[in-house]
């Protein structure tokens, strides 16, 4: 059966902080807005147990923050579809086409807020042990490691916060990171004060071993050049992120890191196409800057739409 064609004023791709903020603002301006999300609503922050650096909240879980934001956006008329995946986008003409598995959407404005995904562990054994000792979701899989030994790989805020969370299950936790911490001082201090935790900086996981599921790992100490074998039941990988820009690589200019090139005004090289949040190439990527991008993109999208309608 042929796919139905549906027109929208604005399509937002991605339902993280940037995308839902954009949808809320666009909705408030009485525009017809659809948010498409093929992963988890909230993106990376859906996994955050406690966010302590979002203004107005002493501490809030990612799930609670994003669920409130989704309600705000929906209260202003935004529709969020998290079950219909995008298969192709054509952005250079007007209207822009966003084809999903079920429909063909035509939109005057597209706001890309597709965010980033966690980088996979770059070892050949990763596939063998994925879900059987190698994990990427602390909230989903942390419970498997009650009274067990866990390693967390990574040194940024997400990794350190994940490690702090996982200590509630583990008897022992290794924080393994190839260089120095990038996490903020507060999170680092909390981790270092936990007696279950052993911080191993300047170290790298070189191999995974186990029959059926993960049993132990080889860890290289980069300072001494020696490798030691550690018994661990599970590893949670938090070694950075990769931008979700595969769909746009033939339509928009991407930076070396694969992010979309757009100014602080979130405008891309194509009129009516905006990039907001972590998917946009920029120096600072925080929850607050994602919200700011969503706001900017939405307000400038409305301006663009007004001019477009005047010109018809």
């Amino acid at each position: 059966m042929a796919k139905a064609h549906v027109h929208k004023d604005v399509i937002v791709i991605g339902a993280g902080m940037a995308g839902l903020t954009a949808a809320m603002y666009v909705g408030r301006m009485n525009l017809d807005v659809l948010v498409l999300e093929s992963g988890i609503i909230g993106g990376q922050i859906a996994n955050a147990v406690s966010i302590e650096n979002y203004p107005g909240f002493v501490s809030v879980s990612g799930a609670d923050l994003i669920s409130t934001l989704q309600k705000q956006a929906e209260n202003f008329g935004a529709v969020v579809d998290e079950f219909d995946s995008i298969v192709k986008v054509t952005l250079k003409n007007n209207p822009k086409i966003v084809e999903t598995e079920e429909k063909i959407y035509e939109a005057d404005v597209v706001i890309i807020a597709s965010g980033m995904n966690r980088r996979k562990l770059p070892l050949p054994e990763e596939r063998k042990f994925s879900g059987r000792g190698v994990h990427y979701c602390e909230l989903c899989d942390g419970h498997m490691y009650q009274n067990k030994i866990i390693a967390v790989m990574g040194g940024g805020n997400a990794a350190v916060d994940a490690a702090n969370f996982l200590t509630k299950y583990a008897d022992k936790l290794y924080l393994i990171h190839r260089s120095e911490f990038r996490a903020d001082e507060v999170s680092q201090k909390r981790l270092r004060q936990n007696p279950k935790v052993e911080v191993m900086l300047q170290t790298e996981i070189k191999a995974l071993h186990g029959a059926g599921r993960l049993e132990n790992i080889d860890v290289l100490d980069k300072n001494s050049g020696t490798t030691k074998n550690l018994a661990v039941d599970g590893i949670f990988v938090n070694i950075g992120v990769v931008p979700n820009t595969e769909l746009f690589k033939d339509e928009l200019q991407l930076s070396k890191s694969g992010r979309i090139i757009a100014g602080e005004d979130c405008r891309t090289e194509i009129k009516g196409v905006f990039a907001a949040g972590d998917v946009r190439e920029k120096e600072i990527r925080q929850l607050t800057t994602a919200a700011a991008d969503g706001t900017t993109a939405a307000l400038l999208a409305e301006k663009y739409l007004s001019r477009l309608k005047e010109s018809v």
Binding site: I41, G42, A63, E82, F83, R132, C137, C140
Partner: protein
């Protein structure tokens, strides 16, 4: 009856539940952290300790994680 094995706070478990609800599929939720019997039944089904979300309709065939295509197939949606 469709069963979904979950743990509290797991975002992919929430997604599976929302998807089933969007398709008007009635299901029972079994939190494997709250019940040893459910944890054991889930482990027996998948052969993997603690993996969630797991959806089954007959305690034999199952879908691990959120996989729309496989869920549609399992539940004839």
């Amino acid at each position: 009856m469709v069963k979904v094995y979950t743990v509290a706070g797991c975002p992919w478990c929430e997604k599976v539940k929302k998807y089933l609800a969007s398709k008007d599929v009635e299901f029972e939720e079994h939190d494997i952290e709250r019940s040893k019997e459910d944890a054991e039944a889930c482990r027996k089904l998948t052969g993997i300790e603690g993996a969630v979300p797991v959806t089954t309709i007959d305690n034999e065939n199952y879908v691990l994680d959120f996989d729309k295509e496989q869920l549609d197939k399992l539940l004839c949606l």
